[in-house]
């Protein structure tokens, strides 16, 4: 089936070409990092994880969200999702690959990464995260590919795929739970030390991922002959709406605990993020943009015309996706390091090469996604003939 990725319209090739350019720029920046080390980033002894790990955290959510089409289709027999499950699974593949890349580029000694398997450390959440992420990647490759191939041949997928599909459902929950545990169990990082971290991660995953999937489905419908179906998009929209409301609710819960308890360690990061402390407020604009987009997203999602007016739908999905990206891909990880263990505010800003590498990884993910979607859509067009 791979050969279907090699031919395509001029627009398809232009898109891949554009992504390749961004990937090349990212690679050039990464070669600089390989030569000089992580000194070329804005990270330091106070904010020791930056944009890379923040993108990783966010993208684990996007990957996990595939379960939101797989679960209703295979467990609750929601037939309208039948046409787009493969889109969800392929989105998961691209996202997990980005996750793995973001972890690898963040390592000081990437050539030693296999030490994680040579000297397994079950007490480390990172060890488990490596296992569940790679497992999830393999599951989605096997499932997505076999189901699509069966569709092409007009047969039912092999029997052994079914148990994998059932395993993939709790597995999706596990990748995001373990990623939340990565940061939620550290003494002294009060901003992260919250029991609802995993729940918050899942809620934000289940709105940002399906929101992206809706946007992708609309793009696919516009540029190809494959129609994912209005009902499928409506169903996804319901999921996005509930998950977004729960996400916003969880953020409010965090505020309540921090400020009603009045414990300085729990309040300090929120103050830094939303109003700034000691005249230092680099992330304040981002966090208020998050608030504005989140409120706008909720308002649009609850608008009575959202199922009729596609412009509203696109705007709502963009608001949801970008607000959740700001919350998790910017504020959550970086905020956890500010103030530092000495109670000082040491700010972080990514450098140009760091941004180029980050964009390069995103471009790689979208390149893989484009190729996979091209294959899936070609098969679907062919079958419907």
């Amino acid at each position: 089936m791979l050969e279907r990725a090699l031919s395509g319209s001029a627009a398809y090739k232009r898109l891949l070409g554009g992504l390749l350019i961004l990937m090349g720029l990212g690679l050039a920046a990464y070669i600089t990092q390989w030569e000089h080390g992580l000194m070329i980033t804005g990270m330091g002894r106070d904010v020791s994880w930056g944009l890379y790990i923040a993108q990783f955290t966010f993208l684990v959510g996007v990957a996990a969200s595939a379960v939101m089409v797989v679960l209703p289709y295979y467990i609750h027999d929601v037939k309208v999702f039948g046409r787009i499950t493969v889109l969800g699974e392929f989105l998961a593949i691209a996202s997990v690959i980005m996750c793995i890349m973001f972890v690898l580029i963040d390592l000081g000694k990437p050539m030693r990464v296999f030490n994680v398997f040579l000297y397994p450390a079950p007490n480390s959440m990172l060890f488990w995260d490596v296992l569940v992420l790679n497992g999830y990647l393999l599951l989605n490759i096997f499932i997505g590919w076999n189901v699509l191939e069966a569709e092409r041949k007009g047969t039912h997928y092999p029997k052994w795929v079914k148990p994998l599909i059932y395993i993939s459902i709790p597995w999706a929950v596990s990748i995001h739970t373990v990623t939340a545990f990565l940061i939620a169990g550290l003494p002294g990082r009060e901003f992260w030390l919250t029991a609802i971290m995993a729940a918050r991660f899942l809620a934000s995953a289940f709105c940002s991922g399906p929101a992206l999937l809706i946007l992708l489905a609309l793009i696919v419908r516009k540029y190809t002959n494959f129609d994912p179906g209005k009902e499928a998009i409506d169903k996804l929209l319901t999921i996005v709406t509930y998950a977004m409301l729960v996400s916003v609710f969880f953020v409010i819960l965090e505020f309540f605990t921090a400020f009603y308890s009045n414990i300085p360690g729990h309040m300090e990061t929120f103050k830094y993020l939303f109003v700034g402390v000691d005249g230092k407020h680099a992330l304040v604009p981002f966090m208020w943009l998050f608030v504005i987009l989140a409120v706008a997203g909720v308002a649009l999602l609850l608008h009575p015309n959202i199922r009729k007016d596609e412009n509203l739908l696109v705007a709502a999905c963009c608001c949801v996706f970008f607000s959740m990206w700001l919350d998790k891909g910017v504020g959550l990880i970086i905020g956890g390091f500010i103030p530092n263990p000495f109670g000082q505010i040491r700010q972080y800003a990514p450098t140009v090469p760091e941004l180029m590498i980050t964009i390069g990884v995103w471009a790689t993910g979208f390149f893989i996604l484009t190729v996979l979607y091209k294959i899936a859509v070609s098969v679907k067009e062919e079958v419907r003939g």
Binding site: G37, G44, L107, K109, S124, L186, P187
Partner: protein, 259 residues
Amino acid sequence: METSRRNFLKIGGLCALGLSSLEVAEAFAKSQTAKFLNNPQAVTAKRWAMAIDVKKCWQAEKENCKDCIVACDWAHNIPEIPVQRQEVRWIWNEKFENAFPDQESSLEPEEIREKPFLVLCNQCLQAPCVRVCPTKATFKNAEGITMMDYHRCIGCRYCMAACPYGARSFNWRDPRPFIKKINPAYPTRERGVVEKCDFCVERLAFGKVPACVEACKSKALIFGDLDDPNSDVRKALASRYSIRRKPGLGTMPGVYYLI
């Protein structure tokens, strides 16, 4: 033809996987603990700990005495990195409000507010850095010292996120050009790995006290076995009131401050 090529590739892949797993099985079969003898001169303890007598520290003959810091920097080839956020530190000075951010009232005696407090790795009994390390590159030795294997560390910096004391440093760049004079008795590090104070485990092996303890002319740094009631540390703790950094986190630090 197509299916047979596919099957060939599938079987080939499985064979490659099987062959490579042989290596892993072999590695597991071989893994036995190394046998070696301790240096007979070595000093040993159940749990090494330190008490810092801040009064004595402040009564040093010199103003702004940094003897211990200088001795440590020399002993461990610590680079002087010009960019603050990329600095490598094993032992350094902080103000009371920074070393003890949740214990200050801002009404302490001026001496306490203004004079320096030495900070270093706390050699926690329940070390979060050891708990989170995905490769066991940071680990506890039999004498309670949290150690680093610079050759195993993958540089993920999870330990830095986990340490509540900011005691860990990452080599953001190659440290070697920034070492003034290299001490051949201790390895220099490469870029990309984390490091921190190891209570001079390399000196204890030869019966010597840590470099900072030896360098302090005021005898402000008291080093010994926390599990031995007759050790200097235990005697000091029994006779004076002491505090530890962030005791509420349950890390059980092994560095005490005699106030």
